[in-house]
Amino acid sequence: MSITVKDVQHVAKLARLQLSPEEEAVFTEQMNAILQYAEKLNELDTDHVKPTTHVLHVSNVMREDIVKESVTQEAALLNAPEDEEGQFKVPAVLE
């Protein structure tokens, strides 16, 4: 299974990355090499193996529903590249 420049362009779109033609060419080559290496995993029969998503033996970590202090509006906006009237500013979403 090998991937093409077209695949790379599609994945870049999903990942919200704008790649230059040079980057597309390099990534196509490098991702193919890495994915070809990953084919190695198919040497192993894992039909009856359970996946490990997490090593810890915990699940459904809950806490009491208590109202606590949270981040202030001022602090939340401290690093915002653009803000207006206490809100993050973004370009128009609707035409």
Partner: protein, 486 residues
């Protein structure tokens, strides 16, 4: 350079106690050393000089008043730049976060403050902790204090180099696939990756959430135990934090390893491992034998699959975690008038370096429709097999020992063209990360003038045995006392 930082932690505390040294002098020493050395080493990205000196004065007052002192009282600390420090620039060595000022402290920072440590500054790293050489920093690479033409390892290269060169007393790093242990090995310092869940990840900028773990880099094992004691513990702010009583790590350093059972995986000392590295490890095993331990060769048969599984899993988690860098709430914003989607595309493309983009791409691909089962799920299943390898061995042995890395530090620029070769440097640290168990790298000799690291791997949450073995070894060798000539 003769430095106050050649002393062990209890020695420094004795000097402070006897009023032969003040915290202000100790802090001044850090900044003096940084001024003298960091032009060459390039371990620091941001200095915290004003605040550090203020903290030092407060601690000196505390010392004079006779009030109770924290476990890390007065010690100058360097912090990897992916750990949030309130009000102190935190970049993850990425252009994307060039001006980022965290609005809260990571839990480890709160704990360091409670332990009376002094934060000296933020340390260079591979961008978003992705890399094993520090060449992926947006601010230029850290250099290895033992040979400035060589890499310090990564991604916690700044942390390892700052400790090795004596710029700070200790440092915090983070380890996802070897990012504490491998640079510790390359720079000749002690680097500990705790069991997943032992140290809170709250405030650590996430790379691969199921693998990331914060840990100390120090010049000796005893100091490592002190720092671990200060930062370990349950944190309600981290849902993957383990709820358990923290043992007395310092009390574990008894020097007694009589009857200890050591497993040495044949995969860790076989093909691909530099013969000089292998020799250092075998010599270390002899030392441990002399102390009453026994070792036997075992097999961790899935070792060769670990790197492939890791890069699929870590990249997948990274592609999801790094989706938050969108140019809206913080960091780089490139708005060329093309609307919101263009803003995302342009901000991320401008802000991220090549390795970060490569991993986001790989992870997005592995998680995308049609490939999820073949790559991501398959890798998770292989992760189970790798964990079982360790479980099986630990039924009969107390620790697993091998090299930390197959080679010593390589030359800058020698592997940048080939990501796959670079990834394979982590082949001996990655299985441990996938299994979530603890491991420490301790200096065990030199090969052609460059430090070699011995990796001691333990059962989950058995840091006490890990530290006891590392400490016993260190007591009977001199490797950790060697210092680079800068």
């Amino acid at each position: 350079m003769l430095s106050l930082f050649q002393y062990r932690l209890p020695e420094v505390h004795k000097l402070l106690q006897n009023k032969e040294l003040s915290v202000s002098e100790l802090t001044g020493e850090a900044f003096k050393n940084i001024a003298a050395l960091d032009g060459r080493v390039h371990a620091f990205l941001t200095l915290n000089e004003e605040e550090a000196k203020l903290t030092a004065r407060t601690l000196d007052d505390k010392l004079a008043s006779g009030a109770a002192r924290g476990l890390l009282f007065g010690l100058p600390a360097g912090i990897k730049d992916n750990i949030s420090t309130k009000g102190l620039r935190t970049t993850c060595a990425s252009q994307f976060l060039d001006n980022f000022q965290p609005i809260y402290d990571a839990t480890v920072m709160t704990k360091l403050r409670q332990a009376d440590a002094v934060t000296i500054g933020k340390l260079n790293m591979d961008e978003f902790a992705m890399g094993g050489s520090n060449e992926n920093s947006s601010y230029g690479p850290v250099r290895n204090p033992w040979d400035l033409e060589r890499v310090p390892g990564g991604s916690s290269g700044g942390s390892a180099a700052a400790v090795a060169s004596g710029e700070v007393f200790f440092a915090l790093g983070s380890d996802t696939g070897g990012s504490i242990r491998q640079p510790a090995s390359y720079c000749g310092v002690v680097g500990l990756k705790p069991t997943y869940g032992l140290v809170s990840r709250f405030g650590l900028v996430a790379f691969a959430s199921s693998l990331d773990q914060i840990g100390p880099l120090t010049r000796n094992v005893e100091d490592s135990a002190y720092v671990l004691q200060a930062i370990a513990g349950y944190d309600p702010q981290d849902s993957t934090s383990a709820k358990l009583a923290i043992p007395d790590y310092l009390g574990a350093l008894t020097g007694d390893i009589q009857g200890l059972r050591i497993a040495v995986p044949k995969e860790y000392i076989g093909e691909g491992v530099d013969p000089a590295v292998r020799e250092s490890v075998l010599a270390a095993l002899k030392v441990l034998e002399g102390l009453g331990a026994v070792w036997e060769e075992v097999s961790l048969p899935h070792t060769e699959y670990a790197v492939a599984a890791y890069y699929l899993l870590a990249s997948s988690e990274a592609s999801s975690n790094l989706a938050r860098f969108d140019g809206v709430r913080y960091g780089v914003r490139v708005d060329e008038g093309g609307g919101l989607l263009d803003l995302y595309h342009n901000s991320r493309s401008r802000g991220f370096g090549p390795e970060v983009k490569r991993r986001i791409m790989l992870g997005t691909y592995a998680l995308s429709s049609g490939y999820y089962d073949a790559y991501y799920l398959k890798a998770q299943k292989v992760r189970t097999l790798i964990k079982q390898d360790f479980d099986d061995v630990f039924k009969n042995y107390d620790v697993v020992i091998g090299p930390t890395a197959p080679t010593t530090a390589f030359k800058l620029g020698s592997q940048t063209e080939d990501p796959l070769t670079m990834y394979l440097n982590d082949i001996l640290t990655i299985p441990v990360s996938l299994a979530g168990i603890p491991a420490v790298s301790v200096p065990c000799g030199f090969a052609e003038g460059m430090p070699v690291g011995l990796q001691i791997i333990g059962k989950e949450f058995d840091e006490t045995t890990l530290l006891r073995v590392a400490h016993a070894y260190e007591q009977h060798t001199e490797h950790h006392k060697a210092r680079p000539q800068l």
